[in-house]
């Protein structure tokens, strides 16, 4: 596939052209960090960042989303019947998403798009999006993507991959959607240059890694009963920071909210870290302690997902949970503990 050269002076004009057919999204600087926002006309995405504070998942999967609306007014003919809510799934282009966040969508899709059931909200929002990724040339010290199934120039989940080459971008149109976007923007100048050298250089800069090779072979109940969980869970606050900042976390809650005689059924992000998550109506809570919940998070990410889908760990190594956890619980450390755990030997916690 030919690489396209996009002169940076042609960048704003291309975006302008695209804004006619796509809603545009990209990183925007807000105080000290970058987050994804919809870009109003003329506003360029800000690429001067290592990664956004929160992942791109909210573009496809908003934190609070109305699923249905209804009326409780019994004088209406369709009272108490759930009705669809108008949604906007018009084409969108997401600029500046890092390869880790894009790969995360591929992992999350396994949950929302199954042979038996399909989540129309997630799938339609995802399929309406064209992802123009920005390869990383300056990874953060907490990035461990290369050992978590992706990398700074990884292409899975992206429609276009951009590599920043100074006064121009080198773009690969990876899918039909991506190639259509490049054409629509008028970015069509082909070049012989390739990005392999840039890719190798960036991968060489990744300084952090995890070992996952022995996770699949471990026995689930043995890992579950390992002695290190108690100590690892002590500091944990059981807040939702790690789960909400994680691009591969997807758990949600469904709730009805009424206002006078009408209401909506909505879904909100939820977290396995919260005690309410598994609380039975009888008061019984299968994950009643902090240790249970912390263990669930890491077992799910690093073991259960591995066993269920055979597609590696449910983590892309973006490092957000490491950077944002208020008490420095580190998934890299726990992954090593799990990977090294030998239920036969007499282990002491690392």
């Amino acid at each position: 596939m030919k690489v396209i050269k996009i002169d940076k002076k042609d960048w704003p004009g291309g975006l302008e052209k695209l804004s006619g057919n796509y809603r545009l999204f990209g990183p925007v600087k807000d105080k000290d960090s970058h987050d994804f926002r919809e870009l109003p006309k003329g506003k360029l995405p800000d690429f001067d960042f290592q990664n956004t504070r929160l992942p791109a998942k909210s573009l496809v999967y908003p934190q609070s989303e109305a699923m249905f609306e209804y009326t409780l007014d019994e004088s209406q003919p369709d009272h108490h019947v759930m009705k669809a809510v108008k949604k906007d799934y018009s084409p969108r282009a997401v600029f500046g998403i890092r390869p880790c966040d894009a790969k995360a969508f591929v992992l999350v899709r396994k949950n929302f798009d199954t042979p038996e059931y399909k989540d129309p909200y997630w799938i339609q929002a995802y399929e309406a999006s064209t992802f123009v990724g920005l390869a990383c040339d300056d990874p953060h010290g907490t990035c461990f993507c290369t050992s978590a199934g992706c990398g700074p120039f990884h292409e899975e989940g992206l429609d276009v991959l951009l590599a920043d080459a100074g006064d121009h971008f080198l773009a690969k149109g990876l899918t039909e959607k991506g190639q259509n976007l490049l054409k629509a923007a008028g970015w069509t100048a082909e070049t012989e240059a390739d990005i392999e050298a840039m890719k190798k250089a960036a991968e060489g800069k990744i300084s952090s890694s995890v070992s996952t090779d022995k996770l699949e072979a471990k026995e689930t109940t043995a890992l579950y009963d390992a002695p290190f969980w108690e100590e690892q869970a002590f500091a944990c606050l059981n807040c939702g920071t790690c789960t909400y900042s994680c691009p591969t976390c997807w758990c949600f809650d469904i709730q009805d909210e009424n206002h006078k005689k009408s209401g909506i059924r909505m879904r909100n992000w939820d977290s396995c870290m919260f005690p309410l998550f598994t609380l039975h109506g009888t008061g019984h809570n299968p994950r009643g302690t902090k240790m249970h919940r912390l263990r669930q998070r890491f077992m799910h990410k690093l073991k259960y997902y591995v066993d269920k889908y055979g597609a590696g760990i449910q983590c892309v190594g973006c490092g957000r949970c490491v950077r944002l956890c208020p008490v420095n619980i580190d998934i890299r450390k726990i992954c090593e503990l799990m990977n090294d755990y030998d239920s036969g030997a007499d282990t002491c916690a690392a």
């Binding site: 108490h80 019947v81 689930t220 579950y224 209401g263 939820d270 396995c272 299968p286």
Partner: protein, 282 residues
């Protein structure tokens, strides 16, 4: 794309209070759109999400049998926000049902001339009612050999479906062992004793052709399982139905996840050998 979160609208046709403490009611629902009933084709052991508009949804085992046409029945315990509101609803009220969800009891295996031993406690008997009616239907009865039902509750007034239990007692193609923990009724004709005790006395011995389906409160299961072990039941012949907190019911919201399974989608029916390989988070 079919939206799996959209409930089929239903109307409550009948509400019956089942137990003397009034905490259990059986609701009979009729689909507002007849074609939804066909889409809702289910098997015994499955559950559905009952959607009370403006309040929320609850996952409840289907108590009616697929052989009963024109309606679906659920027996609901009054426990929390949605179930309490549901208990205040009346015939004619409109709400929703999503489903059927989950897997079902292993009918494909048991219909090959197997013996079925049903062990139920308290108000967990709902999907077992569905199973009994399914098996006793003339079209299905020949597919099974012996059927035993051991069902207990705290007192006679706490048994579900008492009229139907009495009907089944009279039949000669099913062995009923109804019991109560304590009987205050001098006319009580049936057994007195905890379900595990009656199981020990009345359950048939284990063999390759005999399957036990257990559904009940954790305490009952805890004491019944050793009895079945002593009788020689292999763990892949002991079938259980789990409960867990659920919301979506379709394996997406993540809430009912245990190990690599979702109770709502890979369950709620599991064999005991499958459960032994899974963390005890239920």
């Amino acid at each position: 794309m079919q939206n799996p979160y959209l409930p089929y609208p239903v109307r409550i046709e009948e509400v019956i209070t089942e137990t003397e403490d009034k905490n259990l009611k059986t609701f009979k629902f009729v689909f507002l759109n007849p074609e939804d009933e066909e889409k809702f084709a289910y098997r015994s052991g499955q559950f559905a999400e009952l959607s009370v508009t403006g309040k929320g949804e609850i996952p409840i085992g289907i108590a009616s049998s697929p052989t009963e046409k024109g309606f679906v029945k659920f027996t609901v315990n009054k426990v929390g926000l949605v179930s309490s509101f549901l208990h205040s609803m009346k015939s004619g009220d409109i709400m929703g049902i999503r489903g059927p969800m989950g897997n079902w009891y292993p009918w494909e295996t048991m219909e090959e001339g197997k013996n079925v031993v049903i062990i139920g406690g308290g108000f967990a008997f709902t999907t077992l009612r569905s199973s009994v009616i399914y098996m006793l239907d003339p079209a299905n009865r020949p597919k099974f050999k012996d059927i035993h039902v051991i069902y207990g509750a705290r007192t006679p007034g706490m048994l579900l479906y008492r009229d139907e239990l009495a009907e089944w007692e009279k039949r000669d193609d099913i062995n009923m062992h109804i019991t109560v923990d304590a009987a205050d009724d001098p006319d009580w004709k049936y057994n007195v004793g905890f379900v595990p005790t009656i199981t020990e006395q009345k359950a048939p011995p284990a063999d390759a052709d005999t399957y036990a389906i257990i559904c009940g409160p954790p305490i009952m299961i805890k004491f019944t399982q050793p009895v079945l072990d002593n009788l020689g039941y292999k763990h892949d012949h002991i079938i259980m139905s789990l409960e867990n907190r659920m919301k979506c019911g379709i394996g997406m919201c993540g809430r009912c996840n245990i190990g690599k399974e979702f109770v709502c989608k890979d369950g709620p029916v599991f064999t005991l050998s499958e459960l032994s390989a899974t963390p005890r988070e239920y």
